[in-house]
């Protein structure tokens, strides 16, 4: 062919090799965007998701000290519930809103009932609005930590224990916590163990 001499061939190969490496790197970068996004969201509360706190890790004593400092401040927390893809469950908060002091540990309950004739495994997904409040909304106990299995017709009251961090920006006086129940079969999602892995990877990436 007329592509020229050997040195030309070599430099063509060199350029091609280099560019192929770039292609592979960028392909991986596409996937890396997932944990990067997760980390960013957690750091800045971008999509209203919580900071995950494992049970008992939260220092309740320290939180109670903050209560004193913030006695003059109150925050209204609203609760709401949704079901994804018309999941045939009754699902609602048992209190629609509570007023709390920052640092105070509160417990509220959600009620859920499986209206279908079959056993349903569902995952509750929390979301907080405004988004920047998400990282100051810490849950100590939550039914969203694990998948919930409901037998046909089964009803449960599910507790949620939470603390609003005293560092919550001053201009936020009301925040809303929304839960959406997804049927794991319908959503075709990973097991909780896999979800945890993803979250941990994201956490480490941060």
């Amino acid at each position: 062919m007329s592509t020229g001499n050997n040195s030309q061939l070599e430099s063509n190969q060199r350029v091609t090799r280099f560019l192929l490496v770039v292609v592979v790197v960028m392909f991986c970068f596409g996937f890396a965007l997932a944990p990067m996004y997760e980390a960013l969201c957690k750091a800045f509360g971008i999509n209203g998701r919580f900071v995950e706190i494992e049970q008992g890790v939260y220092d309740a004593d320290k939180a109670m000290q903050q209560v004193k400092a913030d006695r003059d401040r109150q925050v209204t927390v609203q609760f709401t519930a949704s079901r994804n893809q018309n999941l045939q469950w009754e699902f609602r908060p048992m209190e629609t809103s509570v007023v709390v002091y920052p640092g105070e540990v509160r417990e509220v309950k959600y009620y859920a009932k499986n209206l279908t004739g079959k056993t349903v495994v569902a995952q509750a997904v929390p979301s907080v609005s405004p988004g920047q409040a998400a990282k100051y909304f810490n849950k100590i106990e939550c039914f969203c930590f694990t998948q919930q299995t409901f037998k046909p017709g089964e009803a449960k009251e599910m507790p949620l224990r939470f603390v609003v961090d005293g560092k919550l920006p001053k201009k936020i006086s009301t925040l809303t916590l929304a839960y959406t129940f997804f049927d794991t079969d319908q959503a075709g999602t990973k097991s909780k163990a896999q979800v945890d892995t993803v979250l941990r990877v994201a956490h480490n990436a941060k």
Binding site: S82, N84, T174, T176, A178, T180
Partner: protein, 377 residues
């Protein structure tokens, strides 16, 4: 306000001027410019839009003016000899800096407006808007009022493929719903958006709110309408087949009208609960069932119950005639295949009514009367 009015006028003229191709009088009745808003923030957005529109128009006139002058005068047929300049550091520097300065001028009001828009604190009412394929569900978090809002019946009939109905004769075609949301005037209304399935977007141009509704997440936005009236909008994010047919209607009313409405809604909900316990007459069930059918079932099973394409006929079908009533109820509540479950959208009365209707309409004439008490959830 007169300044902004003048601006509005000039803005419309400006836009009209841009279509000089066509006689200006043709456009007397048509909206050429951004919909003015009834909220302060919306008016800020409108003014910001006008500022940018003015800037680009002036820049456009200048640049296009130079080009047109050049096209007319610097042509070979005029016998000119081409100049030979091909760069000038000064000129190039100047025309890099000028756009930059203009951008800074735009950025200042843009930043101010944006900060105002994103301040959702201290709201008076919170409404959760949940997008469904293809309708909206509203929940007043403070008062517990909750309802679905579907495309209104007249529009829904006219919008069917080859419906034979003239959309021009339908009032507010595609922009009307059966249950509008009602909010008080001069109150800060916080809108939370989320979704039951795919991403939707809640948009009312006159309230200057557009916010995506994302499944599993909650978003917020707000408006404070300064004028009573009816404001209409649509879903703005492609959400599947009937994306174009899930409008939004907001009635902004006085405080007292709002509390009346709220009381009525609460009473209606209580009545529905009470209705579930009592025994209904066949005529009442048929009338109510027809309404429920038209709203929920007709799009697929058609008005004559004959279905079409992938949608099965109800007319003469086993489920709706000889099959057991319980199975029929079950199908309505739980859905099957492409048919969505209606269990969480229809209460016991509605379910009983629509099943009664389907078993007696379209010549099915089974004579069955289904009572709300038979509908166990």
């Amino acid at each position: 306000m007169s300044a902004s009015k003048t601006m509005k006028k000039i803005g419309s003229l400006l836009c009209a001027g841009l279509v000089m191709l066509l006689p200006a009088t043709v456009f007397a009745d048509y909206k050429l410019n951004m919909t003015p808003s009834v909220t302060a923030v919306g008016q800020d957005i409108y003014n910001l839009h006008m500022i940018i529109l003015w800037i680009v128009t002036i820049v456009g006139i200048l640049v296009f003016g130079v080009i047109i002058y050049s096209l007319i005068n610097h042509r070979k047929s005029k016998g000119v000899t081409p100049a030979t300049f091909h760069e000038s550091a000064t000129v190039e520097f100047v025309w890099t800096v000028i756009p930059f300065i203009i951008l800074v001028i735009i950025a200042v009001p843009a930043t101010k407006t944006l900060l105002a828009i994103e301040d959702t604190s201290k709201s008076d009412i919170t409404i959760k808007a949940t997008g469904w394929q293809w309708k909206w569900e509203y929940e007043y978090l403070d008062s517990g009022v909750r309802f679905f809002s579907n495309l209104d019946k007249a529009s829904n009939e006219a919008r069917q493929v080859k419906s034979g109905k003239d959309p021009r004769k339908v009032e507010n075609y595609l922009l009307d719903v059966d249950n509008p949301i009602v909010v008080p005037v001069n109150k800060k209304v916080r809108i939370l958006t989320t979704s039951n399935d795919v991403i939707h977007a809640w948009w009312v141009p006159e309230l200057a709110v557009k916010r995506d509704a994302i499944p599993g997440f909650i978003n917020e936005s707000w408006f404070k309408a300064e004028k009573t009236g009816t404001y209409r909008g649509q879903c703005a994010e492609l959400c599947g087949k009937d994306h174009g047919f899930m409008p939004i209607v907001v009635n902004v009313v006085s405080d007292s009208e709002y509390s009346d409405w709220l009381a009525k809604q609460k009473k209606a909900a209580a009545d529905a609960d009470a209705g579930a316990g009592k025994t209904w007459s066949k005529a009442d069930l048929m009338a109510r069932g027809k309404e429920v059918y038209e709203k929920n079932c007709q799009a697929c099973h058609m008005a004559n119950g004959e279905g079409g394409g992938p949608f099965p006929a109800l007319k003469g079908s086993k489920v709706a005639t000889t099959g057991p009533v319980a199975a029929h109820i079950d199908l309505v509540l739980k859905g099957k295949g492409m048919m969505p479950p209606f269990g969480t959208q229809l209460n016991a009365v509605d379910t009983a009514a629509v099943v009664t209707f389907e078993r007696n309409a379209f010549g099915n004439n089974t004579g069955d009367v289904v009572q709300p008490s038979q509908v166990s959830k």
